[in-house]
């Protein structure tokens, strides 16, 4: 039993290490273009809403807390409480994605979606298009992970509802927790890197 638990945890972390590299390519592209085009990064970042990004940061870290409690209740064999914490985590995740959806829609209205329809005035327009491309790629890949997370949360909550977990058997909840916390960590980096590039100077 101890060895099984150990290998489940280890396997999950190998997957997450791979996820670090998966997101890492985008962070690499972000870093290089930020060094090349600092002015465009500063100006592009001003287009994002710090208030909405900040609220989403609080919501997502809050969902990590409820997820941690779900795992804790599963460890203690409290299936009902586990289910409730998982559902609360799911609701907070939905709040995050809905707010993100409003942000995307606003960008759509402003014609700030990179591509043929992209409109931006000023000398840095081309480079800002690169910034916004990375913004959509990074937050989009993150949002995709959240959507997958919703499926996992709903499935695990269903298991808890049927009373499947016990102090000896709760790996599902713990692994779902690791996945959810990882998604939280990605956002912890995305928020300052995208929303808070250069808020001191009011450029553009």
């Amino acid at each position: 039993m101890v060895q099984q638990k150990e290998s489940v945890t280890l396997g999950m972390w190998v997957f997450l290490a791979q996820e670090v590299m998966f997101f890492g390519g985008l962070f690499m592209a972000y870093l290089l273009y930020r060094v090349w085009y600092p002015a465009a990064w500063a100006e592009g970042s001003q287009e994002l809403d710090v208030m909405l990004g900040g609220i989403n940061t609080v919501v997502l870290i809050g969902s990590s807390l409820t997820m941690a409690f779900a795992v804790r209740c599963a460890q203690l064999g409290q299936n009902k409480a586990t289910r409730n914490w998982l559902l609360l985590t799911l609701v907070l995740g939905l709040v995050f994605v809905v707010i993100k959806g409003f942000e995307y829609y606003h960008k759509f209205e402003m014609h700030h979606i990179p591509g043929a329809d992209f409109v931006f005035h000023g000398p840095n327009a081309d480079q800002i298009q690169i910034f916004l491309s990375l913004y959509f790629m990074m937050t989009g890949l993150h949002a995709l992970h959240m959507l997958i997370g919703f499926g996992i949360l709903a499935w695990i909550a269903g298991m808890a509802h049927k009373g499947r977990f016990s102090p000896e058997y709760y790996s599902h909840v713990e692994m779902a927790g690791l996945y959810w916390h990882f998604v939280d960590i990605v956002w912890i980096f995305l928020f300052p890197l995208l929303y808070l590039v250069d808020r001191v100077h009011h450029v553009g």
């Binding site: 638990k5 290490a17 804790r72 916390h181």
Partner: protein, 106 residues
């Protein structure tokens, strides 16, 4: 071992710390620190991520092998950043030590 049950108060403490650092990173973004704004924002983010990994993800109670895998993921990320940047950031430098035309523009 993964069977370790942490007290509720620990989770609330970590959550409080994460909220504090979130407020700090927003606040400090509006203060002019010159070139230090980016490193400070990164340092805060790394601190927050470390708290999540150690306490929410229970790595602090995990086996040494698990800790090694966790560290490996980030180690290879640093290799990716380090080697790529040493390439791109030195491309305009000529053998005589002078900075040549930067080939970074378009």
């Amino acid at each position: 071992m993964s069977g370790h049950v942490s007290p509720k108060s620990m989770y609330f403490t970590i959550f409080g710390a994460l909220m504090f650092f979130t407020a700090l990173t927003v606040g400090v973004a509006f203060v002019d620190l010159g070139h230090l704004n980016f490193p400070v924002a990164l340092a805060i983010a790394i601190t927050k991520a470390t708290l999540v990994i150690l306490f929410f993800m229970h790595v602090i109670h995990s086996s040494r092998l698990t800790k090694l895998i966790v560290a490996t993921g980030f180690f290879f990320l640093l290799i990716l950043f380090g080697l790529t940047m040493t390439d791109y950031l030195t491309r305009g430098i000529q053998p005589n030590g002078q900075k040549g035309s930067m080939i970074t523009q378009h």
